[in-house]
Each structure stands twice: as C-alpha cells, then as structure tokens.
C-alpha cells in the first residue's frame, strides 16, 4: 500500500539510516525524505495538541459534575479539538512509519486505525457527551441536579464507553502498540537511540490530561525533531 519511493525533494530534510553497530549502515532500502512542510506538520500537530491539553480541566473521578459545572465550555472546546487532533496524530504517526521496512513498521501502521477509531470514539463520549450533559444540568432546576449528576457519574462507569471501558482500553492499547512498534522500527533502521526512546515514551499520551498528555506529545515532537537534526545531510552526488 505504501510503497517506499526515492522521490527527491529539493527542500526536504533527508531521513537516512544512521550507521548501525560498528559504524556499518543498516542494509535497508532508502526511505522517502520528509519535506519541510511534512516536518512542520509532524512537529506542530503534537505540540498544538499539547498546548490545547494544558487547558483540560481537572476532573475528580467521583464528582464529575461538581468538577465541570463551572468549566464546561473549556471542557467542550478541549475535547472538540482533541477529536480533530486524534485524527491528525494518526496521520502524523502514519507519515512517520509509512516508508519504514519490516514487521514492526507494519504493526505500527495497522494499529493506527484502531487508535483513531476507538480512542476517538471514547474521547467523543467521555468528553463531548459528558460536556453536553453537564451543560444540561447547569440549565436544569436545582432540584433536578443531584439526579442529573448521578446520571453523568454513571456514564463514566459504563463498560462500553466509560472511563476504563472496552472502547477506551482498545483505543489506548492501539496507541501504545503503534508508538512502541514505530520505536522498534526506527531502532531497526539505525535511528539515534533517543528517537525510539522518546517515541516509546510518548505512549503516555493515552492519559491525555496535563501534565502527562502534553509531556507525552512533547516526547513525540522531540523524537521527530531529533530524527531530522541527527540525520546527516545527503552527500553531494558525484558529478
């Protein structure tokens, strides 16, 4: 599906395999370079999401309505944005591994779909649905609020889409598998050791509220930046 190509982009940052153990380059097919626009996307998407997540309100698990009633608009904005950023992160990770060879890269690519689908679905319900219900409770007569608060609370414990539900676990596991497999794939093509370490550490993004989510996204952006910076510039072709 994603055939490695050797397209040459004049303004690109060549991502080439670094020397392997003993200074011998790993014997792999050349990969397509990231253009500057791609590189900007790969770094800016996680950083922009990280900035958004800094505004994620803190939620007490046993009092969701009480935690959110005064911050419901912020909560909804953060989660509407997060919905878009989940898709963008799936795209970013796919760009990162699309031309890498091997089983690990294939596993990473395969895990991106379930991440976007299930983590996005979970985030939609737990973020946007909860926000809509809190908004309704805020507009309801005071006498109804305890019952509405209970309804909001029971949603968090739902086995399908609740806080620790089937959908949440599948989505989170998919991201963890995708980034660890990407880390392994990069290690196998001889990327600097920090790149797979940072990529692997970005698994913590599954717990997206600050500080963990933004830190995980910063790891991801740093891995990409390092990949671009530590890669030797393409040697001039002999005349």
């Amino acid at each position: 599906m994603n055939t490695p190509t050797t397209r040459r982009a004049p303004d690109s940052v060549r991502v080439r395999p670094a020397a392997g153990n003993g200074g011998v380059p790993a014997p792999i097919a050349p990969r397509r370079a990231f253009s500057l626009a791609e590189l900007a996307f790969l770094i800016c998407a996680p950083l922009a999401w990280a900035v958004l997540l800094w505004f994620h309100p803190s939620v007490a698990p046993d009092d969701v309505y009480g935690s959110l009633r005064d911050q419901v608009v912020t909560y909804q904005i953060v989660h509407a944005g997060t919905l878009v950023f989940i898709g963008l992160m799936g795209l970013a990770l796919n760009m990162l591994v699309r031309d890498l060879p091997g089983k690990a890269a294939r596993i990473s690519r395969l895990a991106i779909g379930p991440f976007v689908l299930f983590y996005g679905a979970w985030e939609t319900v737990i973020g946007l649905a909860t926000g809509a219900l809190v908004q309704h409770a805020n507009d309801a007569p005071a006498v109804e609020r305890p019952a509405l608060s209970d309804a909001i609370q029971s949603l968090q414990g739902n086995v399908i889409v609740g806080e620790f539900s089937v959908v949440a676990v599948i989505g989170a596991l998919a991201w963890i598998v995708a980034v660890i497999a990407a880390a392994v794939a990069y290690r196998r093509v001889g990327a600097p050791i920090l790149v797979p370490i940072l990529l692997g550490l970005s698994l913590v993004v599954v717990s997206h509220p600050p500080p963990i989510g933004p830190v995980g996204l910063a790891f991801f952006a740093c891995a990409v930046a390092l990949l671009a910076l530590r890669t030797p510039a393409p040697a001039a072709a002999p005349a």
Partner: protein, 249 residues
C-alpha cells in the same frame, strides 16, 4: 497516498485497460490496478453488511427519543457500534475504488473522506452509542423521574454539536456527499466509468448520510450497483482494449 503500482496480478478481475482522460483525450492517465477477488468482495461486502445492519436500526420520530429507545437499547447499541466500524470501512472502500486514479476530483474525494470519518463517526457515536448508553444508565437510576429522563435524553440528542442538524453531522455528511460525487466524477473522467457510476455514487452518498432504513440501505445498495457497473465497464474495456504497442526505442 495511493500511488499507482505497476504490478501484475493474475487473480485480478481484468482491469488492465488504459483509461483515456475524458477531459483531455490526448492524455492517458495512469492505469489503475484491477481489483482482486478479495478486494471486490470487500467493495461489495462492506456496504452490503452495513445495509443489512441498518435494517435493524430502531425507528422513531425523534421527538420522544427516550420513549422510543428505552425498550430497544440493545439493538440501538448494536447497530451504532457496528456503524462505528462501518464508517471507516466505507472510507477505505472509496479509497480502494479510487486507487491509482489521478486528478483533482480523486484528490478532492480522498480529502473529503477525512471529515466524513472524523465528524460523521463522532456524531454517530454521540447520537447512537451516547444516547443508547444514556438511556440505559437512566433506566438504572431510580432517583431520576420519568420527565427528567425524557428531558435529559431529548436535550442531549438535540445539542448543537450532536443534534440531527448539528455541527458534527453537517460536516460529516457534507464530507461523504462531496467524497461520493467527486469519486464518481474521477472514475468517469479518468477511469472510463459509465455516466451511471457518478450518478449512482452521488445519490448513494446523499442517502447514506440519512442512515436509518429505507434511506441508508438504499444508498448502500446503489453504491454496490455503482461498484459492479464500474468493474464491469473496466473488464469490458480490458477485453476490447487493443494490445499496447511497444514504444519506439
């Protein structure tokens, strides 16, 4: 994203004909690889299975959602959890249909699939799974009286983001309609599809966005017909296409 790959597959459904660009007959587009039997099964099976699933979609006017859904929570959830899977699969089907097809219309279609998958899925998750689970949870809350339950579910389902004409469904539906129409135009202009293919794809996109029966299943049926017509036209083109002359050295 999906680059034409020059590879021969003996098991394909013979679509190796060269498609002339209708907008510019002198230009010959890149050949799109034929569909293998598993790919064809996917292109037909996904909309067919989705259509069958949608036949079980609980009905209702949408004015008393709690009352309509309270006794049908399980089918409501099963249909909408299934839909969560079928929405991205339909996007993959359209991408597969456009594989190797170049041009602006194909590019527009591929791009429009993104908002369809992201926003239509989000809307579907909230309106389908969210409402189903909310109804289910409210049934287990004795402290919530009937009027409160009905108001909460109705208000939730009519929220500006989630409602039937809300932000998410509007963006998602426009995404699918644009993707379907652009896919049809791309197949017609660059892949030799008959004119019925863009017409059917356009209508199917509009009907699928209104997914409960009869609209959704009908739209998915039209999509299948479009796939069959396109495949047949490509097979026919492959049979009558003159053998390609070797280019002069």
């Amino acid at each position: 994203m999906n680059k034409p790959i020059a590879q021969s597959e003996p098991a394909t459904v013979s679509t190796e004909g060269v498609a002339a660009d209708r907008g510019n007959p002198s230009r010959v587009t890149a050949q799109s690889r034929g569909f293998s039997p598993p790919e064809l099964a996917f292109l037909i099976g996904v909309p067919l299975l989705w259509a069958v699933l949608l036949l079980f979609h609980p009905g209702g006017e949408g004015t008393e959602i709690y009352l309509d859904a309270q006794d049908k929570v399980t089918p409501f959830l099963v249909v909408h959890i299934g839909m969560m899977i079928f929405i991205p699969l339909m996007a993959v089907a359209v991408l597969l249909l456009l594989r190797g097809v170049e041009g602006t219309a194909a590019r527009v279609s591929r791009i429009a699939l993104v908002p369809f998958v992201v926003f239509y899925s989000a809307w579907e998750v909230l309106q389908g799974i969210g409402v189903g689970i909310l109804v289910n949870e409210l049934k287990g809350l004795p402290q919530a009286d009937q009027a409160l339950r009905e108001d909460l579910v109705q208000d939730f389902a009519e929220h500006v983001l989630i409602g039937p004409f809300g932000v998410f469904v509007s963006i998602g539906s426009i995404g699918l309609i644009v993707a379907a129409i652009a896919a049809g135009v791309a197949l017609y202009r660059h892949a030799g599809a008959p004119v019925s293919v863009p017409v059917l794809l356009g209508i199917s996109g509009m009907l699928i966005t209104v997914h409960p029966p009869p609209y959704g299943p009908t739209g998915l049926g039209l999509f299948i017909v479009a796939v069959v017509l396109f495949t047949r036209s490509r097979s026919h083109a492959g049979e009558i296409a003159p053998p390609r002359q070797p280019s002069p050295a």
